[in-house]
Structure formats: C-alpha cells, structure tokens
C-alpha cells in the first residue's frame, strides 16, 4: 500500500508528502525473507546493483561515467553493511545472515528516505538476529533514513525502537515503546496474559505472546 501496489480500501494516504506510488525511488523495500537456494548462481554485488539500475531499460555503455558512479555506490553500500568479503560469491552459497545483509544493501543503494523491512530477522539464528538488528539501527542513523519494519518476535529489536504499533485481535496500539510495551497494555490488547520483564542490563523482554503481533518502529532522521 505504501509502495502504491495495493489500492486503499478507504480513506487517504500520503507517503513522504506524496500519494503512494509516486515516491517509489525514495523507498527501499525488503520483502519477507526470500532465500536463495544453493544453486542460485548470482553474485551478491549484481543483486545490489539491480537495486540501483534494475528498472532501467537498455544496456549501459561500458566505461560510461554513470556506470563508474553506480559501481562506486554499490561498493560503498556493501561496505556499509559489512558484506565486502563475500559480495562477489554466488549468493546461494552464503549463509542466511550474509544474504540478508546483501539484501539490505540492495534496498539501501538508491539512498531511500524510507526503508520498509518485512520480517528482516526471520529465519536468522540468534547472533545474526542481534547483529542485523544493530546494523539496521546504525544504518538508520548514518544514512538518515526512516525504517519501518514488521516483526513478530519483538525481543531482538526492542532496544532499537522509537515508536511501536501493536496489531492484534482487530485492535492496535501505537506509541513509544515505554508506553506501549507494558504487561498491562499488551495483556489488554491480546486478551491474554503477557509479561514484560526487565533484564538485569535494563533491556525489556516480552514473554507469553499468544499470536504474532505487528510491530512498527521508526525513526526520522
């Protein structure tokens, strides 16, 4: 809907000050995890490059200045996500966390103002979840980009959120994490007991979620 691919059922929407669909070039989008099977013979660097020029028609002239500029940008964004070491390998041979970093680079390569991430931590192991969550927060600050992400497991990203929207049972609660993520609010929303605990280092942990909630965290740079 934000990308302008689905029509609104009712009401109106404005994305980055324009109607949805008008600002495709300024939105980076990472759909729910696509995994590339081991036989996929495409290099990560080519996948990132597609994020930059994949929608352009015609064949680029080798040696053109725009081509060099594009290559420099691709290199820069791969460096940013820390994927330089394996960007030239076929993506099917990389681990889930490595693939996800390259896909984030692809979404970032056009310097978007808004980054849409659908379950960016899904099917990653715990250490990669923490690393990718920290990476997203760092990108958000360094690249001055607002990040809107959907997650069903909120714990790995709890420390990085500015705003949160919980969707459950036909209802929604929006606000800052401190206001929304409390045992009382969440239990009321889900109609089931949920505990929000504070770990010894001050981090929040949510336990006892009965169904997948919808979390929204964003930060305006």
């Amino acid at each position: 809907m934000i990308l302008g691919l689905l029509p609104l059922a009712a009401g109106s929407a404005s994305v980055l000050g324009r109607p949805p669909g008008d600002s495709k070039g300024r939105i980076g989008y990472l759909p729910q995890r696509r995994s590339f099977d081991t036989g996929t013979r495409i290099r990560g660097v080519d996948l990132v490059q597609l994020g930059l020029d994949g929608a352009r028609w015609g064949i680029p002239l080798p040696g053109a200045p725009s081509r060099r500029r594009d290559a420099a940008r691709v290199h820069e964004v791969i460096e940013l996500v820390g994927a330089t070491g394996y960007a030239r390998q076929p993506i099917g041979e990389l681990s889930g966390g490595e693939q996800q970093r390259l896909l984030i680079a692809q979404a970032l390569v056009r310097r978007p103002k808004l980054l849409l991430l659908d379950e960016p931590l899904d099917s990653l192991d715990l250490s990669n979840q923490a690393a990718v969550a920290a990476l997203i927060r760092r990108i958000c600050e360094e690249e001055q980009v607002a990040v809107l992400l959907v997650a069903h497991d909120i714990n790995p990203i709890l420390g990085y959120l500015d705003r949160v929207i919980y969707l459950a049972g036909g209802g929604a609660i929006e606000g800052s994490p401190e206001d929304v993520i409390t045992s009382g609010t969440l239990s009321r929303l889900y109609g089931a007991p949920i505990e929000v605990l504070r770990a010894s280092d001050g981090r929040l942990v949510v336990v006892g979620q009965p169904e997948a909630p919808f979390v929204h965290g964003d930060r305006h740079g």
Binding site: L5, Y29, T40, L50, G54, A55, W57, G58
Partner: protein, 299 residues
C-alpha cells in the same frame, strides 16, 4: 577403417577440408543459419535457464513439431508453421504462468500442453499419408536445403529478438532473480514474463529449423546451463553461452558434412560433452576445497 567409413570425403588436411566446407552454397547457407541461430539461442537460453523455464522452453520446442507438420500438410513454408505454432504456444504458456496457480499445477498444465502438441504433430503427419519422409528431419534437424531466403528471415527474426532482450536486459534480469522487489521498484514483471516467452517461442522456432524440434535443447539449454555453471557474472555468462553455442554449431555442421551421421546428433553430443566436463570439473573443485577446509580445521 572405421573413420574412413564414417567420415567420407575428409582429406584429414585441415586447410583443404575447411576450404571444401565453404565450396557449396548449401553449406555456406547452413553455416550462416547456424551462426544466427547459435547467437540467438545463446542469449535467450541464458535467460531461460536463469528463469527456470527450461520445461516451458522444451514444451515450445515440442509445439514446433506440429507447427512444421501442419505447414507441410498445408503446403506453406515450414517457417510459417514453426513461427505460428510457437507464437501460439508462448501465448498459452503465458496464460498458464499468469493464472498464478501453484508451481506444481503450472508444470502439470505445461506437460498436458506438451502431450497435446505431440499428438497433433502425429495427426498431421498421418494426414499427410506417409509421403512426409522428412519426419525425422522435422524432429531431429537437417542442414540440407537451407535457402538464402530462409537465412534472411532467420537474420531478421534473430536481430529483432536479440535487440528486444538487450533493451529489456536489466529489468528482465531483475524480474528473473528477484520478482517481488523488482515489482516494488516499478518493473513490469508480468509483461516482461509474457514478452520473454514470446521471444523464447521465436528462438525455439528458429532453432528448430536447424536442430529439429526435439534437439532444440542442444543449443538453447546446454550451452546456457554450462555458462551458468562456469560463471555467476551476467555479461560474461551470456558471452560464454553464445560462444559455446557457436562452437558446437560450427563443429557439429563440419562433422556432419564430412560424415554419415546427422547434424543434430553432433551438436547435441558436443554440447552435452562440454556440460558434463564443466559440471565434473566443478564438483571436483568443490570437493578439493572441502577436503582442504577439513585439513585446515584438523591442523
């Protein structure tokens, strides 16, 4: 001697033999047609393998057979039958792919279409009352009797198809590897899918005229699959795919000219041989890397 019986007319002097290849107009036409077809098959084949549409490509090639048989029956040029049927086939395949059924339902639908095509081809051949002695060349290809007019038609179609693929190269590549993000980025994914099937239909119709309907794969799939094994780089891969298709076509035509066996057999065996070599080499290399890794861990 066995070679002497198989390779009649070969003087075993490369210069003389090469010169003889270009002596007869029919052979020059065959080499020109083969070159055009190989370039086109190399390009579209690379994308076909990337898009995992090998089965759809195979079905288009089977559809080429009733096309050619119907053309013989109606007394029109074979090319009309090839292009007409392959175009219709591409439309049907795009309809199947566009209906968004599950992958297994899609392949089953394509398979049914393929069976229908074969049956139709057989029907047309039967209607022709046996005088259609070229069934084997419809199925397995021939390089005899290609006219300059046919070469010109091939050139026009191939130029059009390759230019279309070149113009759409990046969006097509994007849509093939990453459809969802491509759609979000404004790439017309479905239109490209449909357009590519049409171009694939053209390629198959062209390639069929040299390799026959059943051996289209020798030029369309095998060189492209080999190129994908050799490199993940897109431009290099396409260049390799074209080069391999050209090499097996030229060599296959030359071998067929000097020997008693058909050209389709040579082109198929040569490309299959290269494919097996490359796959074997890669398997060996990855095993060696794995053992090296184990040794490193142990140390």
């Amino acid at each position: 001697m066995v070679e002497a019986a198989i390779f009649q007319g070969l003087s075993w002097n490369p210069v003389t033999d090469l010169r003889e290849l270009f002596t007869y107009p029919f052979m020059v036409n065959a080499l020109e047609a083969g070159t055009i077809v190989a370039v086109m098959a190399g390009v579209t084949g690379w994308f076909m393998v990337l898009r995992r549409q090998t089965f759809a490509g195979h079905t288009l090639s089977v559809i080429a057979f009733p096309g050619a048989a119907a053309a013989s029956l109606a007394g029109v040029p074979l090319a009309v039958g090839y292009f007409g049927f392959c175009g219709l086939g591409a439309l049907a395949l795009a309809g199947i792919a566009g209906s968004r059924r599950s992958l297994s339902a899609e392949s089953a639908a394509i398979g049914s279409l393929q069976a229908l095509a074969l049956a139709l081809g057989f029907l047309f051949v039967s209607l022709y009352h046996g005088v259609l002695n070229g069934v084997d060349s419809l199925l397995f290809g021939t390089f005899l009797g290609i006219t300059s007019g046919q070469v010109a038609v091939l050139l026009v179609v191939a130029t059009a198809a390759v230019s279309l693929v070149a113009i759409a190269a990046r969006p097509l590549f994007f849509a093939s590897v990453d459809a969802e993000v491509a759609r979000a980025g404004g790439v017309p994914v479905r239109l490209l899918g449909f357009g590519f099937l049409l171009v694939l239909g053209l390629s198959v119709a062209e390639t069929s005229q040299i390799t026959g309907a059943l051996l289209v794969f020798a030029l369309l799939v095998t060189p492209a699959a080999t190129a994908h094994q050799l490199t993940p780089r897109p431009l290099l891969g396409i260049a390799l795919s074209i080069s391999l298709a050209l090499a097996v076509t030229w060599l296959g035509l030359a071998l067929a000219y000097f020997s008693i066996y058909p050209v389709g057999f040579y082109i198929t065996s040569l490309s299959f041989g290269v494919y097996v070599l490359v796959r074997g080499g890669r398997a060996l290399r990855s095993r060696r890397r794995a053992t090296a890794g184990l040794a490193l861990e142990a140390a």
